[in-house]
Amino acid sequence: MLLLIQYTLIFSSVLTLVALGGCISEHSGVINLGLEGIMVMGALGGALTMRYLGTTSPLVMVLLVMLAAAVCGAIYSALLGVACINFKADQTLVGTALNLLGTALATVLVKAINTAANPDDHSSEIEYVRARKMFIVNINGFEFNWFMLVAVIAVIVVAVMLYKTKFGLRLMACGEHPQAADSVGINVYKMRWSGVLISGLLGGLGGVCYILAGVSLWKFENGVAGFGFLALAVMIFGQWKPVRIALAALLFGLFRALSNTYIGFPSLAALNLPGTVYNMMPYIVSLIVLAFTSKNSRAPKAEGIPYDKGMR
């Protein structure tokens, strides 16, 4: 039971962070389908930091890994920004390209690093047994991960920022009616850029949190197994509102955690379902949930449409 709660919380933290990223980007008017690739890049930055940082105090380690992941994610999301904001490219296409590029680039780089260290090693794995322990505080068998705290803070910060600050309200204006926002002197391009960069930052954090969730070794060929898209489903289910997103993430996290821990429950194990059923659960649940919630969706009105100053 404890294990289920632990996995639920850690997977919900991942989903919350990434979905908040998607939410900010969409509120600024850019659909960020590249979250999956951004997560991979954040994970890569974090994993490399863990590999090369050697022995330091846990505090330095935790902070540096988070910083590296966030910076990697933000830099990578700039690719989306350039294409979709400045060059008015198709946001779906570029997002998809970023997902493919993220996994390919991470695999090529990690394999090159591994092969350079040991000519016989052609794997795409990075190991971080010791570093992972620094993220975890053991409370009576419950492994508390610092990312859980980060996720809670992120929800509060994003909620306050979006609804209570000048910046957040302006950002949302750019996703609802960029022409109107521009007419009152808001720089739409700048706002959209900040939306995309913040989403990259949160996506990167979510990425490193994901690979730290259960294992101490990550194979980069696998990417992040559709988690970026699950996060988008969470965001839609949460109707683009930070607190609701956090609640939705808890629900989705629970189903994801079940696939890791169902063997521990006699009643579930007795059903004798194949393990793949539990693997499918989060995706099936999100499809059903989307079918019921998408009809009156509260999506930002101008999302997905490149802003063209001349179109006013």
């Binding site: 389908l33 690719l79 294409a83 979709c84 060059f87 008015k88 490219a89 198709d90 779906t92 296409l93 570029v94 998809t96 390209a97 970023l98 493919l100 590029l101 996994t103 390919a104 680039l105 695999t107 090529v108 780089l109 394999k111 090159a112 092969t115 350079a116 000519p119 052609h122 795409s124 060929e221 696998n222 990417g223 197994a225 559709g226 898209f229 988008l232 489903a233 839609i236 194949p274 793949t276 059923v277 693997n279 499918m280 995706y283 099936i284 999100s286 499809l287 989307l290 079918a291 019921f292 998408s294 009809k295 969706s297």
Partner: protein, 379 residues
Amino acid sequence: MKKVLKNPGMQAFLASLICIIIGLLIGYLVLLIINPEGAWESITNVIKNFFTWSKPKTQLKQFGNTLAKTMPLLMCSLSILFAYKVGLFNIGAAGQYVAGACASLYAALAWGWGWLPCMLFAIVCAGVLGAIVGILKAYCNVNEVISGIMLNWITLYLTNTVLSKVKEAASPYTLYLDDVNPSALLPNAGLNNLFNNNKYITIAVPLALIISIAIHILLSRTRLGYELKATGSNKNAAKYAGMRENTNIILTLIIAGGLAGLGASMLYQTGYMRWECTQSSVPGMGFNGIAAAFLGGLNPIGAIFSSFFIQHITDGGQYVNTNFYSSQISDLISSVIIYLCGFVLFIKLTMNKMLARSEERKLRQLKEAEAAAGKEVDQ
């Protein structure tokens, strides 16, 4: 020259060429950063692919392998471009492809069906998957990209479970078609002799080419194609004009799904590949289809060439120097190319702007010359 440049087809070709060149350059750059020593040799091997072999006969055989794998890719890219013309981004093609593989392999291995029923079953199953996306889109307003991705993962896990029933006991791979049910293999029809007896060259090759021409005709010459495109550009206008917009959306995704499923049957029923039942990620074929569709300028005929090119460099990836690099460098190149395809509109716009400017300049010069001539007469 100017006239040629103004032709939209030519512009699309040039834009794709620019994408390819920049994509290869970035791939080369990454290789250089990893290790400058063998970078040039490796990138040329990626481009050469089967030409790296010295014997012409081996080249021909390897060319056949690339060609056999181009056909499923072509089908996936047709699936994506067909849906895109109707305003839908069918990222679910990857999952529909998996469904096709599942259906054709299971029907062949467990039920012992012949090749044609297997192929049709693959089309139907993948079409059903497309229909689910379509129904969700038409009646529940679910974004087709999100539902497509969710279905990709669901289909992958389902396929792993289903095909585990027909896998080898000792390995995670499905049984060999050649051993269990040779009647499910696509007929060669003598085409294999053209490629140094490469048994993977089957009727799939001409069939795929015919289908791309058929899709081209369907989209540009028929009433159905026109209605579908109209629905894509404005759902409400289409409804106003008396078209059944929801049916059109669903129909589009059924056709798109069927195409992707047919692609899977074209590969798995040659016996070239077997399904790995422990696969933990969706096969890249559907995603590469996106690259091929956009690189081909969203034109079914262009897709033939772009699919071949994408498969060519993907296969070329295995000839890099594995002492330093990994074969995923070709995935990197094709994903960079997809990214750059986002800029195609901008490239075309710039081309047109440049053309217009040079024309304007010429006109002005002509006017100035006339004016000067006029002055001379006055004097």
